[in-house]
């Protein structure tokens, strides 16, 4: 309780020597212990530089996170006749269009798998990624008036949007299983990697959301650009074409896009069209983690300015 010197502030400000405010160190924030057993102590300090992420605070707000996710899901399909059915229709129709255009007309190679199944396997994680980042960015922009009215860990906003899209992912996955049995395909041992690939997928989506949302708060251009950025990103991942089309020399650079690992890994595990692309998965996992943690830190760093610029 060293700061509890009550005489300290009472001095005439003219007598107080000008002290350069000291930015709180990470330890300072972490060690903020309650002053009294039953009193939470909130410390407010001028901040500069990157601050650590307050995991405790995120955990304390888990109920808020839950309701934010619920709100996202509920509001998205409110007053819609088909409702959650859109989670099936969206990838299904896209798959049909792709099959007609790329599979039939353009005759794109699909590693010996029926093109419909080939593209649907990719569309399930891809749709999650595309919708999660779009929702996450929009959620923060739409709710920016709220940011200047109440404090809560801002990270929860984009995270809630991303989490809400997992429902769609689950529904589409069920359709995928149905499609596989229709084509009589049986998964191989590589399917054991799918949980990890899903983690990579979620981290990539969250990382991308953090970066884009932070930009979007300052530059509303991001909102307008989202549509075609997502489109371009789709062609940077093997959604409509197989990764085997990429020359080996560029394989490493291509793998930096973590969604390459997710899509190719799932294709390998579910239909065995390609051998397990270990290099791609290792590189993709690393870049997904980098994207996730750097995005989180950047978002956290800029978070306190949201209310001033939003």
């Amino acid at each position: 309780m060293t700061t509890l010197n009550s005489q300290h502030w009472q001095r005439d400000s003219a007598e107080v020597p000008v002290v350069t405010p000291v930015a709180p160190s990470l330890d300072d924030v972490a060690k903020a212990v309650p002053a009294d057993v039953d009193l939470i102590r909130t410390r407010i300090r001028a901040r500069s530089g990157f601050a650590g992420i307050d995991w405790n605070e995120l955990y304390r707000n888990r109920d808020l996170f839950r309701f934010l996710v619920q709100r996202e899901i509920k509001v998205r399909y409110a007053q819609s006749a088909i409702g959650i059915g859109w989670a099936i229709l969206q990838p299904l129709f896209t798959m049909i269009v792709f099959t007609v255009i790329f599979g039939r007309l353009a005759n794109v190679d699909s590693d010996g798998v029926p093109y419909a199944l080939f593209s649907f396997i990719a569309l399930v994680p891809w749709m999650y990624y595309a919708n999660a980042i779009t929702d996450g960015v929009n959620n923060l922009i739409v709710n920016s008036p709220m940011l200047s009215k109440v404090y809560f860990p801002r990270l929860l906003m984009p995270l809630a949007s991303n989490a809400a899209r997992l429902i769609d992912f689950a529904v589409a996955s069920v359709v995928l299983i149905g499609l596989m049995s229709w084509y009589g395909k049986v998964p191989n041992l590589g399917v054991l990697l799918i949980p990890w690939l899903m983690i990579v997928m979620v981290m990539s989506a969250a990382g991308t959301t953090f970066w884009l949302a932070t930009f979007a708060i300052q530059f509303r251009d991001v909102k307008h650009a989202m549509g075609f950025v997502v489109q371009i990103l789709m062609y940077a991942a093997p959604v409509v074409y197989p990764a085997s089309l990429i020359p080996d020399a560029y394989r490493f650079w291509y793998s930096i896009n973590p969604m390459v690992a997710v899509v190719e890994g799932m294709r390998c595990g579910l239909v065995g069209s390609v051998g397990m692309p270990w290099m791609t998965i290792v590189v993709g996992s690393c870049s997904a983690m980098l994207l996730f943690f750097s995005g989180m830190l950047y978002f956290n760093h800029k978070e306190r300015q949201f209310a001033d610029v939003a």
């Binding site: 509890l4 300290h8 502030w9 400000s13 009193l39 939470i40 407010i44 009215k149 306190r304």
Partner: protein, 417 residues
Amino acid sequence: MTEHAIIADRISKAYQVGAHRARPDTLVGTLQSWLAAPIKNYQHIRSLTNAGRGRRPTNRETLWALQDVSFEVHPGEVVGIVGRNGAGKSTLLKILTRITDPTSGSADMFGRVSSLLEVGTGFHPELTGRENVYMNGTILGMTKREIDRKFDQIVEFAGVERFLETPIKRYSSGMQVRLAFSVAAHLEPEILIIDEVLAVGDAEFQKRCIGKMREVAGGGRTVLFVSHNMSAIGQLCTSGMLLSDGKVMARGELHEVIEAYMKDLFHTHSEVGDDSTNVSVKTSINGCEDEHVWDHGARLTVHVTVETKETMQRPAIDLYFHSSSGRMIFAQSDRFVDQPMQSSKRWSFEFEFINNGFVSDYMTVDVGFRYCSSTQYLGLWRSVAAIALGPVPVGHSHGRECPVSVPCAVQVQEMAA
């Protein structure tokens, strides 16, 4: 127990003025200016978010919304924060609620903090009443379990039991506000920070809000309360704080703070006008210029001087007096003067009033300036002076929040049993 609930130590907050004009607001714009002057632009953008930091002295573009604000609040104290618009009240609340960071300085708060800068934050029209209660409650810092426990009380206070499963977009706006306030009223933090939320709703609802807030404030909670409503502050607060130009001008006894606030309003607003017209207003009470409280029976003199750049024909001047709630209580015009004003560049007017019943809070004076023959104002200046009103005299009857009292005699006549 700690002896303090809040300790604020030299909090300052700088904003970059004209930031929106100077900052390119499209990516293309940014790219262009980056190409044009990369280093300059980089420095500029950095200066936006680092306003007031670093060794460079304050430049003209930096606005200090708060400067070295220090104060402390004891547990259980209900502090009314007053000040003119732009004095830094909202900025201070935003810093204490962690919505924005201070540029320098620090604050420590002991206890769970909840803030209420708006009612119904997080409400979504598509969600049902029940869902919105949980959404709003968790945003304000409650846990699900706490809301579960208070859910029935919240719904009962709002009076929306029958519509719990209805999306609130089908609620009347009154029901929405009631539900929102009800959630907020059931917060149980140790420290509660409130900004003018009472400005919403009709008179009836405001009365209920004040009643509920009194209950909250009486429960040993520490409350910071910002409002322009002097009677609400008078009813709720145990002490006061006056902010002016980002600094603490007064802190302590409520009536002293309110008096200082009147002086602040008075002194800083006595000179108004634009390039072509200059208006100065002086008030005195019983001939004393340092007096700002207009008691019953006292004489108020309002001295208005108007100067114009060009000679004007027959101008006229109007005075409007508003109560603290913004209602006009009386007005005066020089049109009752026998002689019309002469063509000139400078005029002085002196108005004299005797208080025969104005009480409670304070009143503000607006000055309007026009041609004698026209009703269109050449200039209308709001709140150029403020005068605090004295207490209700003995033997007068007076209603709460009413600016007038009248002499009244009460006689009780015994009834035969």
